[in-house]
Amino acid sequence: MEFLTGVYLFYILTTMYVSIVGLMVYYRIRDEFMDDPGAEFNKGLSVIVPAYNEEKTIGATLQAIIDNGYPKDKLEIIVVNDGSTDGTVDVVKKYKSVILLDKPNSGKADSVNKAIKKSKHEFVAIIDADSYPQKNALKEIMKYFADEKVGGVTGAALVKNRNNLLEKCQAMEYVLIAWTRKSLDAVHSVFVTPGALSAYRKTALKDIGGGFDTKVMTEDIEIAWNLLRHKWKTRMAIRAKVFTSAPSKVKAWYNQRIRWNVGGFQTLVKHWHLIGKKEYNMFGVFVIPFFISHLVISFTGFFVFLWVIFSKLYNWFLFSRYSIQQDSAVFDLSEIYLLPSVFTYFALLVVLLFGLAIYYSFKTFKEAKIKIDFAFFFYALIYLSVFPILLIISLYLWKRGYAKW
């Protein structure tokens, strides 16, 4: 067996395993996937909205929070203006019930930490200033805190803007991520509590060091890891939906992904030594290995892919050169053969598993209105293939000390 065949089979095996774990977890819990987790737990809640130049969106975000259905007497809303240079402050001042903390620019994590200190309730929710929680999302999130071991809860983030191809791809991606995260919830492995909508128990935050790590670019990943590390539970409130604004332009999307990846590396470096340690439960035996294997597979896959592509291009170049030199056909349709091989079965199987995950996720989040159209195929064939390239760039930038929030 050739080396490359072995590599392909390893990839297939890994992809199959991860997909099957996800699907098996889903099948086990599908009857209660969207279930109400229990009685209302409407304790005092401080909602923190960090904002940096968000004049266009923050008004709608604040309105969505105010109208969310959470008891007004239990709700405190704090906007931290992180040195905005636009009209963010003017918009916020129109909302009398909202507390405004104005400070020089110091980044999102630091802004949130300052607001947490100022907040009066035991529970704090963080909502990005371009995200719009759906009705009762706050109540749904709070229900999970009835369990005293729960330190952080995240909602289901979906994309609000779905106009161009990039936005549509992200809409599909967010749906798949939300569905996967709920499956991970069943195995105590929610390892990101995204900024679009997540809530925390202050006692837990104190326990892990006081709040968000300001040195990490993805504070929402790091805090989830830190909670898991300190044996707090992180949960996913699938009924707490929040629509968020995804980047509309490639440059903004690129910057966001680089930031996510670099933040992921920073988080991993901080916690990786706990890999395999059973005393940290699923964090040690699943979350860290899962994260590392994802990186290893992406990196090696990328280099194998590059090698295969360049080798094919080089051979095609040589073939064309010799063909032209000898006045022979450069391309011959009769040389194209389609025969079944071991990969035919596996390709069908992987497509089936991926298809099932897509089907169930799209079915779960009907409000995301995902369609099987050109964008879907673009997402599956092109969009996903770009990720390893972004990882490589991120790794390079991280090593060069990249720090752009």
Binding site: Q326, D327, L339
Partner: protein, 220 residues
């Protein structure tokens, strides 16, 4: 939520399920590949039987009548086409066999058959004055140098076009020289072939390296 006990078991069960699906896939792949190999072997057996049958028929005709040539040449032409087509099939099947069976044994057997066919072609041309040219194409089967690989692919395409154009007028015999077949090795040494690809026309004209359709056409 899935209970603590189930939480761990889901990973184990998924692993078992994955391994089952994986081994079903590997088994299916091996079955497909061995099925292809057995097809090639069956065709080889049939060809070998026909070669022997034809040889005996030639011997028989030589004994009882002078004019055996017409039948023998016709038989040889038929084998020419079949051996050539089967050889191509082995190459294609070899590319799709990913689990270890590279069809090397089958390639060697066919290389022997092709050598036998080549010698028979020489014999018939000399004895019967058959009107065809033998074009033996020496190439490396297991080649890591991309330059050689692609020049061989181009040469192979050119020769296929030539065969298509001239049909029974040429006996195209592609022979791998790195399969450890002593008769081929001896011939390579005898003719001093050191570059690949090399074409030998009517056992006399040696064309080393890559040659165009026109170059070869002029010599046949």
């Amino acid at each position: 939520m899935v209970s603590e006990h189930n939480e761990k078991s889901v990973f184990g069960k998924a692993l078992v399920f994955t391994m089952v699906l994986f081994f079903v896939g590997i088994s299916l792949g091996m079955f497909i590949e061995s099925h292809r190999t057995s097809l090639i072997e069956k065709q080889y057996d049939e060809l070998q039987f026909e070669v022997l049958d034809s040889k005996l028929r030639s011997d028989f005709y030589q004994l009882i009548e002078e004019d055996f040539c017409e039948i023998a040449v016709a038989d040889n032409l038929r084998f020419s086409d079949r051996i050539y087509e089967n050889g191509k099939k082995i190459d294609i099947y070899g590319k799709f066999n990913r689990l270890g069976n590279s069809l090397d044994d089958e390639k060697r057997k066919y290389a022997l058959l092709k050598t036998e066919f080549w010698l028979n072609s020489i014999l018939l041309r000399d004895k019967c004055g058959a009107d065809y040219d033998t074009v033996v194409y020496f190439y490396l089967d297991d080649v890591s140098d991309d330059n050689i690989k692609q020049s061989q692919n181009v040469q192979s395409n050119i020769l296929s076009s030539l065969k298509e154009e001239y049909g029974a007028g040429i006996m195209l015999i592609p022979l791998p020289i790195d399969m450890g077949i002593s008769v081929v090795d001896s011939f390579v040494e005898l003719k001093g072939i050191s570059e690949y690809p090399t074409i030998l026309i009517n056992e006399e004209i040696k064309l080393e390296g890559l040659h165009s359709y026109e170059d070869i056409e002029k010599l046949i």
